[in-house]
Symmetry: C2
Subunit: 237 residues, 2 copies
């Protein structure tokens, strides 16, 4: 039995252990991770310039890429809002399961996302990654050496509209997908869309309240690699 | 300061409190609840016979309904499997936000689901609700008094194939939706489908491994209310 004066520390250490297990993570059916958390510790950070080759399964890395999107929101009492966003996202790609385009699966995690948009009524809107949930995805083996492949990533974000004081978040993934990618990563590719159906967005200040808005449509374009300075400028806000 | 002999109990009580907060639940962006958990304590359980009226927002209740589905699975190394399932699901409907079809939103939780299917290669397959995650959804206000409405429910299940020893689960919702319901609940309605895109299914024994299969298509038919005895027979297995 420990001395009474150790009880607080002991309890604290024990609780930290328990909580670290109970915290959202990739493991198990009750987890709030939307897929596998990949080990990013040995992946190089990749900035412009990079050579991207078609129909090739490159070694793993952390891509820093330009991203833009067109989002449609629906608020039951206020109607529809269409907003264009621009910024970047950072995707950690694990090493491919094989080095052949035809057979390689590549597991990914979204590790950062920052987009800015503006609506005349709502004012500026900032989109950020919600790190409380693992945003996971993959590219799929194409099957043959020179065939387009598919990719998907289940994305957890927050939409902050500072003029309104409201930050919204999604509890179901915004599934970004692309049915025909010809490189990993896809770059300069305007064919991304979100596969969503009236996706509920909740108010971070009242997470147990009813959905405040719904995301009804999202199209996105992955641009090219950013330079380190470009990415830092976006990350600095 | 408590007596030393109370420490174990005190710690236990404290931990239970902490863990009940940390456990998957509806609250907060990091939660593994896919929506609001509704209070089922005051809702009546509803079995056949029930009168279901078109374009009406009935008071809340817990519906016990026949359910069948046609699911398509894809396993990267084994190809496609198409399986028909039959059984029931139980949907807890909160009281509608108004009593008018045109304006009422109705929030729901899936509180039970049991389906049986069979595949010649895989043997019997049992689908069950995964209660670790809140399966939440809603019907949407139709807008006008006699217009079809829409509904969605984000569903967390397990697929158990006992002959193979494998149980799969989804970390992203199987989104059951119906674009044109004319009653709450929809009954005898074959128009349900899942809005999914290569939805990953993970092995419960290796939850951090790669997806073992993907759900690529799912169509479902909501039947009518079951009698209590019919539901009990399904629940008994």
């Amino acid at each position: 039995m420990t001395q009474p004066y150790d009880m607080g520390k002991q309890l604290g250490d024990f609780l930290r252990g328990v909580l670290s297990q109970a915290a959202p993570g990739p493991g198990g059916p009750g987890s709030s991770g939307w897929g596998r958390r990949i080990d990013v510790s040995k992946l190089p950070s990749l900035y412009a310039p990079q050579e991207v080759r078609r129909f090739t399964a490159p070694p793993g890395g952390i891509d820093n890429l330009a991203l833009s999107s067109h989002d449609v929101f629906w608020m039951p009492d206020r109607g529809e809002f269409q907003v264009d966003f621009d910024g970047y996202f950072q995707v950690a790609r694990d090493n491919p399961t094989t080095r052949e385009w035809a057979t390689a699966d590549v597991y990914v995690n979204l590790t950062d996302l920052r987009l800015k948009g503006h609506d005349d009524t709502l004012g500026p809107i900032n989109v950020r990654i919600n790190s409380d949930v693992v945003s996971a995805g993959q590219t799929f083996a194409a099957g043959t050496p020179e065939e387009a492949s598919k990719c998907r990533i289940a994305t957890s974000v927050t939409f902050e509209a500072p003029d309104t004081g409201v930050t919204l978040f999604n509890r179901e993934p915004v599934l970004l997908m692309n049915d025909a990618i010809e490189s990993i990563p896809p770059v300069e590719d305007p064919n991304g869309k979100a596969f969503i159906y009236r996706l509920p967005l909740y108010d971070r200040a009242q997470p147990d309240g009813p959905p405040m808005a719904y995301l009804t449509e999202l199209r996105y374009t992955v641009g090219n690699y950013l330079t380190f300075d470009q990415a830092e400028e976006i990350r600095a806000g």
